[in-house]
Symmetry: C2
Subunit: 246 residues, 2 copies
DNA sequence: TTGCAGAACTTGTCTGAACAAGTTGACCCC
DNA sequence: GGGGTCAACTTGTTCAGACAAGTTCTGCAA
């Protein structure tokens, strides 16, 4: 099922995780790995390219590859889905819908979801927590073609992402995240159980399908004492960008 | 000098930028591009893989590649260097060193810079601004082997990154960024000219050389009304990760 | 012992070929 | 017109080989 180069990438990741290759040590040469797994050098290169993009190993022409880090970053699924993320950490995701309403799309919705102004979109306000303790207020707007499936979900469903995949086969493939900080307002203070004006980490994001069609956009506010985000970047692979206001 | 696949990737990026291929339209097939540029299919695949990783185009087996976005994200240089970033936006980076001091490395410095505890490291506190308006307080710790070069730089140098490259040939290649929100303290309030307790966006980062050797680590606090960060992610390429406190 | 030159090694780039697997559109039948 | 089937097209995966370019280590000479 899975491609051979993915199997090899996984094998290498696991070897790094169990410290068969320690941080700072050198990986075997491509030709050695190719012989070991019984594949061509090109296939090995596909595998190590994946690890390089993840920042696990460093690579320079002429020198052996070096292990840079051991803990591997989350999968896209864990980033996209609050519930998947919680489960991976061994905690339980909780959550409930506070308000839910159909509205005609405003200018902002129209731009982000690539829909005509006035299209019936679904606004949902959710509070989500870890083991019952609230850490996140989520204000999401769903595109019209998926909103019926979302509205049918029970209010305390722990994983909306999983539910949409089961019901409709929808897969989230791309995401754009804009991160800044805001002061906590009155409603958020009550929902999260923190003082007003305390700092919150805000993540505004748009998620799209594999074809590039926007599914939802959301304004998420995290308690900054509970959650942070990390980004790994390199000279070859640059996902993070700094932006000015406006 | 530059590899053929990079030239082709650049050509495609430019073509997308000048809307020769518009958002939503389909790219030519690999075989067509290969014939057009006079290279093999493998070389074309290397080029389009780069654009896919940048999120410019989407890709599914069997279907033509689709243009997803036109504006391309910043280079790593622009992310790493405040001055480079400002220049790219047509604004002037300003800045000054508020305090600078050699200290023996504490536990935290030792872990992040992979140096023995007690090594003489250089602490620098800088305020940086756009066109004279302060937007960022930067607390940076430099490893011992680079600190002499840093200490020799004049206090109001607009681009430390550029200066270090010119003087020592040092190139920053990898970066790990942890992002959260904090309330503004008394010192930061005065330096940035904002009210105490107003929310600041904090980015803690470690930058390393191509070989994976840590050069510096820094605690940067941005006025959240002036600067935000954006991250582009996909199912194949996931640089962003969510973390809990501790 | 030190420093330099060169050999051996390793990754980067590129080719051309073949087959697998998924998508799209045209065509035909009902 | 509607629906289903199939062929043509397109991307994904893999192979084997070749050369370029950079690094590392060895051994020799000063």
């Amino acid at each position: 099922m899975t491609a051979r180069h993915e199997e090899i990438a996984d094998a290498l990741r696991r070897a790094i995780d169990r410290e068969e290759y320690t941080v700072g040590s050198r990986l075997p040469a491509e030709t050695e790995l190719a012989a070991h797994y019984g594949v061509s050098r090109g296939t090995v290169r596909q595998a190590v390219a994946a690890l390089t993009a993840e920042g696990l190993i460093g690579s320079r022409q002429g020198a052996r590859r070096v292990v840079l880090a051991s803990r591997r970053s989350q999968s896209f699924g864990e980033l996209r889905s609050f519930a998947q993320w919680a489960r991976a950490m061994g905690r339980e995701a909780t959550g409930r819908v506070v308000a839910q309403e159909f509205r005609p799309a405003a200018q902002e919705d129209s731009v982000r979801l690539q829909l005509p102004v006035g299209t019936r979109v679904l606004h949902v306000l959710r509070v989500r927590g870890l083991d019952g303790e609230p850490v996140l207020v989520e204000r999401t707007v769903y595109a019209d073609w998926i909103s019926a499936a979302v509205a049918a979900i029970e209010p305390d469903c722990p994983s909306v992402t999983q539910r949409l995949y089961d019901d409709t086969g929808l897969v989230f493939a791309y995401g754009e995240h804009v991160i800044d900080a805001v002061a906590c307002g009155a409603q958020d203070a009550e929902l999260l159980g923190v003082r007003r004006t305390s700092p919150l980490l805000r993540v505004r994001r748009v998620t799209t399908t594999r074809e590039g069609r926007p599914v939802e956009w959301s304004d998420d506010r995290y308690r900054s004492d509970a959650v942070s985000f990390s980004v790994h970047n390199s000279i070859d692979n640059n996902a993070l960008a700094r932006k000015t206001a406006e």
